[in-house]
Symmetry: C2
Subunit: 574 residues, 2 copies
């Protein structure tokens, strides 16, 4: 029974539901894996990957007994990778068009044409509808393949169906032959290996989250299972030749090597939680479909970061308070780039960057080691209290500017809108770029659909709580009856069994709190609707329900978190 109940927790990776008979396949799969794992003395994932994971996660796994499903991971990865790309039919009804002709259609005035697997498509009318914005124009007059290799989200049947509607011709055989000689190398082939415990939301670029029950086991999330949110391939950066450029200050451009960053500036260490703006998006998808990766509740993690203060580096580059008269933003550019050379970019307000209490780091350490490739090796921005998207990884350039970053991700993404705003009416200029995130909490244990035996008499509920802007979580309320009555959870801000550090100064509470409640099972209940809500020290609270905060990008999903748990009356079968 214990095995069965633990395995239930994996079912959140499948469709969420509470009917037990539907859970059967997952339970069986889970049991098989548990057997295969234990029979091989630690499981195949440990053999497949290096000893660093084994070291970092040994205690973690012993503590949770969670099932880490390597097979599932590989299976899903392959599915997404090879995909459905071969399904477009050839038809001879279309005219033959030369690449030369295609190349003349690269403006809205002359039409936007692209080629894909030997077909020619006039996508002029589609440009305005493209979920990725006007980046689609980068492919104008040329082939889609290199872009789709980069954004694997396109490798889906409905995308191909949409494309087929715009077909206008066949590329000439000669040009097809030419195209084939330009080998499209996979820009993701050098991405690092990942821990098999991660649940993959997207393979290319890599986006994955840990199982919730692992998350709440460690106050400091091990780097290997820290959620990963990449927008582009992981760049290969050579630490010896790495350079960081700081621009826009009176001293001209300052260029620092990694060694200089480490030795010229004092090392500062903070423990800070990062959260993706899309964390818990899956709950918004249940209300009405949104655009974005279908994150569960674990696109959030907590780590200790070490590095130079951005403030110190800006001062060394010539920052003085009068700069703030003309400059209001600090832009970050990553070294990760797409085929056109466009890099990932974002910006933060200048006062966050230069304030002594802002604690913004140019971090080169994560949990006491070099930052791993997936998290920005060798240097990333850590902007505590601020949405993950501004914590730019593989940092190449810092620009002090009068303007926000002009990147797609700053201007036309990562913004919140009214539930009444749809893709026909949205004006991205009308909303501010997300910086500080609102109060958040979620239940990691038990998972939705779990079963509790009546004989256990009580239920233990665990979770995390965090707020943006350095606002400390001061209380978590937990309800077992859907929100009618509430009890206050116990919180901790250190590893289990360790004494908590001193309270953070006001406005500098960057780390989450883990919480726990053990309560008697209500005598009459056959099902529990467990709910949590957190309060921060500005007494902001989470909204009750999802629909009124629903937004077309599915960001900022911070309503009360709810899971349903079935109470099974004891029977005589065992």
């Amino acid at each position: 029974m214990l095995l069965l109940r633990r395995c239930h927790s994996l079912t959140r990776f499948g469709p969420l539901n509470t009917q037990r008979h539907q859970l059967t396949p997952a339970v069986v799969l889970c049991a098989v894996r548990l057997w295969s794992s234990s029979s091989e003395d630690g499981g195949s994932y440990q053999r497949a990957h290096g000893p660093s994971w084994r070291h970092g996660l040994a205690g973690l796994l012993a503590g949770t007994g969670a099932v880490l499903a390597y097979g599932l991971h590989h299976h899903k990865a392959e599915q997404q990778d090879s995909s459905t790309v071969q399904t477009i039919e050839k038809t001879s009804a279309f005219p033959i068009i030369s690449q030369e002709e295609v190349t003349t259609h690269r403006s809205l005035e002359h039409g936007i044409w692209v080629t894909f697997k030997g077909g020619v498509y006039d996508i002029t009318k589609f440009v305005a509808m493209h979920p990725g914005g006007d980046k689609i124009l980068l492919a104008a007059g040329g082939a889609l393949e290199p872009f789709w290799a980069l954004y694997a989200v396109h490798n889906q049947e409905h995308v191909l169906e949409m494309l087929s509607e715009y077909k206008v011709g066949e590329l000439s055989a000669e040009d097809v032959k030419k195209q084939k000689t330009i080998k499209t190398s996979d820009p993701y082939s050098t991405d690092p290996e990942r821990h098999p415990a991660l649940h993959i939301n997207n393979l290319k670029p890599f986006n994955a989250e840990p199982p919730p029950e692992l998350l709440s086991d460690s106050f400091i999330t091990p780097s290997a299972i820290f959620f990963k949110r990449n927008h582009l391939p992981v760049p290969q950066v050579d630490a010896a030749s790495y350079q960081l450029h700081i621009e826009g200050l009176p001293g001209g451009v300052l260029t620092l090597s990694l060694e200089e960053l480490k030795t010229r500036f004092p090392k500062h260490t903070i423990t800070a939680t990062l959260q993706c703006a899309g964390n818990r998006r899956s709950e918004m998808n249940k209300v009405k479909q949104v655009k974005g990766l279908n994150w569960g509740i674990a696109a959030i993690s907590n780590a200790t970061w070490g590095g130079a203060r951005l403030r110190d580096v800006l001062l060394a580059a010539g920052y003085s308070p009068d700069v703030a008269q003309r400059a209001f933003h600090v832009q970050f550019e990553g070294l990760d780039k797409d085929v056109t050379g466009t890099t990932y970019g974002a910006s933060i307000p200048l006062n966050k960057a230069v304030n002594e209490e802002g604690d913004v780091l140019l971090a080169y350490e994560m949990n006491g080691q070099d930052i791993p490739p997936d998290h920005g090796y060798p240097v990333r921005a850590v902007v505590p209290g601020t949405v993950g998207a501004r914590n730019v990884k593989w940092l190449g350039k810092i620009i002090v500017s009068a303007e926000e970053s002009s990147s797609h991700w700053q201007q036309n993404d990562y913004k919140g809108f009214s539930p009444g705003t749809d893709w026909d009416t949205v004006d991205f200029k009308s909303a501010p770029a997300i910086q500080e995130l609102p109060i958040q909490s979620a239940i990691t244990v038990p998972t939705d659909g779990a079963v509790v035996d009546r004989s256990s008499e009580e239920v233990t509920v665990k979770g995390y709580a965090w707020s943006g802007g350095g606002r400390e979580v001061v209380r978590v309320d937990v309800s077992l009856d859907g929100g009618k009555t509430w009890q206050v959870a116990q919180m901790r801000s250190s590893e289990k069994g360790q004494a908590p550090g001193p309270s953070p100064p006001p406005g500098r509470a960057w780390a989450w709190k883990l919480w726990e409640v053990t309560a008697p099972l209500p005598a009459e209940a056959q099902e529990l609707e467990i709910v949590c809500k957190a309060v921060d020290n500005s007494y902001n609270m989470q909204p009750d329900t999802v629909p009124p905060i629903w937004n077309l990008r599915g960001v900022l999903s911070n309503a009360w978190h709810r899971v349903k748990v079935e109470i099974r009356e004891d029977d005589n079968e065992e």
Copy 2:
């Protein structure tokens, strides 16, 4: 009809209800007053009070056409004042006790005895239940009268009933005679006159709020109708001899005269909204009774404040960054005091006080004039983004300290708790003192129970929105159907018709925004449930409903605000 509908808006001062027939008396009263007011060329309240009000409010009143009910104000004031104090019965069944004997009972060990109107009461068992905390001990061994004169909240029948349960004797005739010769002068007799538009929640100390529809008419609230929240009598402060003491810094005590404060430090001006922690408490009272003044939605106002920066004064008094190694709070002491000499007090975090971007003022001007007596003449703290209670008025002393203020209001009041916490279980040490307030908004027009004629075809909804901590309001969503569908309101951050100033820097948006939506009346609806909710730039949102944020002190009431409006089909009677 126009008159009738406007008068409806006054009914929120009575019990809130939506049934029209119950509103009749208020409507009649209102009509009578409107007649009497106009027949006397401006109304009696203008004659009764000086020309400054007439000047400040002329435009305001012309713009709203609101009815300002002077008679109502006076009637209620008298009711609260003369009250029910004479109702305790004499009985000869009790022993005669001397004042000397009473005086020996002033500790929990020996019992807590008090006298009231010739009776002797052993209140030992009541001490723990006293809503005002252990301040009740100040009366031990003596008479209650001077305390009750100060806290007029005691002048209620149920308080006297409670007291009568604790009666143990009659004070000796000789001692009663002695007591009578000590004339209890009313410490509130020198309180300033107030504007009759204010709705009085408590007369002594004075607590009052403006009618909501006046509130949303002015971006800057005229001082006369700015909500008043006094904890004690208004002190009489002589500007010429006024002294402000700054203690706890290496330079020793710095003492400044008003003139020095004005001339030694640059004058800094900010526009900042202040809100009482108890704003909208009446909505919590509808869920379950809480302790505190029954504020409507208007215990919030916006003004322009001028004064010296606290930061500059602390620097002049010897503050340097190393002080922050040992001190974490700045305490404020008011000059308002009770009969024992205990002054009003509160504290704020040191980093808010000294941060260049904290904008904390020692203000001597409100809306371009000397601060009026009710708002802290001659000097008050203005701590923008922070709950009203920390904006200490009639400022006498500033203490830089390792500790928070030890005052009742910092330690045992103005804190938030879980809805499951009651007076038997509350531990005031478990919650942080409220500082920054959460996101807030409310509908000022129309008021609950208003009637809209179908022929008007559309409805205009107005209100305010504000958030603490300098977080700018970025959106207000308005629903006419109870929260099912939403539209985005137009916001303004200046007086009507004036161009808004430049956007505040991040984290320094201290002023509210006024908002407005005009929408067609839904064709089928007979009633509208109008709802508003605001979003600030950390994307915090208001909770949906009141019960899950209910707390025993009724503070932090910031759920969606809801008003019901009846749509009347046109008929042939008019």
